[in-house]
C-alpha cells in the first residue's frame, strides 16, 4: 500500500528525460522512399524509350527535345535519390549484427548503388528493372530484420 502510494507520487513528480534511442529519428527508416524513386527511374526510362518526335518540322523537334531533356533530368534526379535512400539504409539502419543473417548485405547494396549510377547515365530498361528488383530484395531484408513480412506493393 505504502509502496503504491509512493510510486504514484513519484510518477507525478516532474522528471528529466534520459534517452534510450538512436541519434536519428529512431525507427523512421523505410525502404519505401527508395522504392518510389526506383519506380520513377523505370517509368522515365520507359517513357524515354517510347518517346519520338511528332513530326519533322521545327516545332515538333523542339517539343521533342524539350520533353526528352525533361525526362532525362527527372530520370537522373530519381536515380540519385534512389542511391541516397539506399545509402541511408545501408550506412545508418543496417548494423554489423544484420550481416550474420544476410552475408550478402554489402554486396546487395553495392550492386544496387552501381545500378543507380548505370540508370543515371544510360537509358537502359533492363538496368532500371534490375534496380527495382534490387530494391525489392532490400525491402525484404529490411522488414525481415524487424520481424515483419510486409508485402512488396508498387505504386505503378
Amino acid at each position: 500500500m505504502l509502496s503504491e502510494t509512493l510510486t504514484s507520487i513519484l510518477k507525478k513528480l516532474p522528471a528529466k528525460s534520459v534517452h534510450a534511442h538512436c541519434d536519428g529519428p529512431c525507427g523512421v527508416y523505410d525502404p519505401a522512399s527508395a522504392r518510389i524513386a526506383a519506380e520513377a527511374v523505370l517509368s522515365m526510362t520507359k517513357k524515354l524509350i517510347a518517346l519520338a518526335p511528332a513530326g519533322n518540322d521545327q516545332a515538333s523537334i523542339s517539343a521533342y527535345n524539350n520533353t526528352f531533356s525533361r525526362f532525362v533530368a527527372i530520370k537522373e534526379e530519381e536515380s540519385q535519390k534512389t542511391k541516397k535512400e539506399l545509402l541511408i539504409l545501408w550506412t545508418d539502419y543496417f548494423k554489423p549484427e544484420h550481416l550474420s543473417a544476410y552475408p550478402d548485405l554489402h554486396d546487395t547494396f553495392w550492386k544496387a548503388a552501381k545500378l543507380c549510377s548505370a540508370c543515371k547515365v544510360n537509358i537502359d530498361q533492363t538496368k532500371a528493372e534490375e534496380l527495382l528488383a534490387a530494391v525489392q530484395k532490400i525491402h525484404s531484408m529490411f522488414w525481415s530484420t524487424k520481424g515483419r513480412n510486409d508485402n512488396w506493393v508498387t505504386a505503378s
Binding site: A20, C22, G27
Partner: protein, 125 residues
C-alpha cells in the same frame, strides 16, 4: 579486459520503499523518465529509473549494470545504456535492443568521466 553478456537484474524492479523515496526527495538519488526504445526488453518508453551518482573515487560498476551517461557527441543529453564490456576505465555501452540502438558500436568506448550514475531501481509506467 573483462567481457560478459547482458545480465538481467530482478532487484531493479523491486517496489519503491520509503528510504528510496526519501533519498529522491533530499537529492541523494535522482530519477529520470525513459524516452526511446533502445533498452526495450528491460526499459520501455515512459518508465522511470532511479539512479545513484557515480563516486569517481570509488567506482562500483560491473558488466551488466545499467548506467546513465552524457551523450559523447551531444552536449547535456543524457543516455541510458548497459555496460557490455569494461576496458580499465573505459566502457563499452550497448542498448539491450541492439537493432535500434546507437551506442559504443558507433561512438567507441565511453570514458568514465561522462558516466553519471548507476541505475538502482526501475519503476515501470
Amino acid at each position: 579486459m573483462t567481457t560478459g553478456l547482458r545480465q538481467a537484474d530482478k532487484s531493479l524492479f523491486q517496489k519503491l520503499d520509503l528510504f528510496t523515496f526519501f533519498a529522491i526527495v533530499i537529492g541523494y538519488r535522482q530519477h529520470l523518465r525513459v524516452v526511446g526504445n533502445s533498452m526495450e526488453g528491460t526499459l520501455s518508453e515512459g518508465d522511470l529509473i532511479i539512479y545513484k551518482k557515480i563516486n569517481q573515487k570509488n567506482i562500483d560498476l560491473a558488466i551488466g549494470d545499467i548506467v546513465v551517461a552524457f551523450h559523447p557527441k551531444i552536449k547535456n543529453k543524457l543516455i541510458i545504456k548497459r555496460v557490455y564490456r569494461i576496458f580499465q576505465n573505459t566502457f563499452d555501452l550497448r542498448g539491450d535492443n541492439f537493432r535500434s540502438s546507437t551506442d559504443s558500436r558507433e561512438w567507441g568506448l565511453i570514458n568514465l568521466n561522462i558516466i553519471v550514475g548507476k541505475v538502482e531501481r526501475i519503476i515501470t509506467k
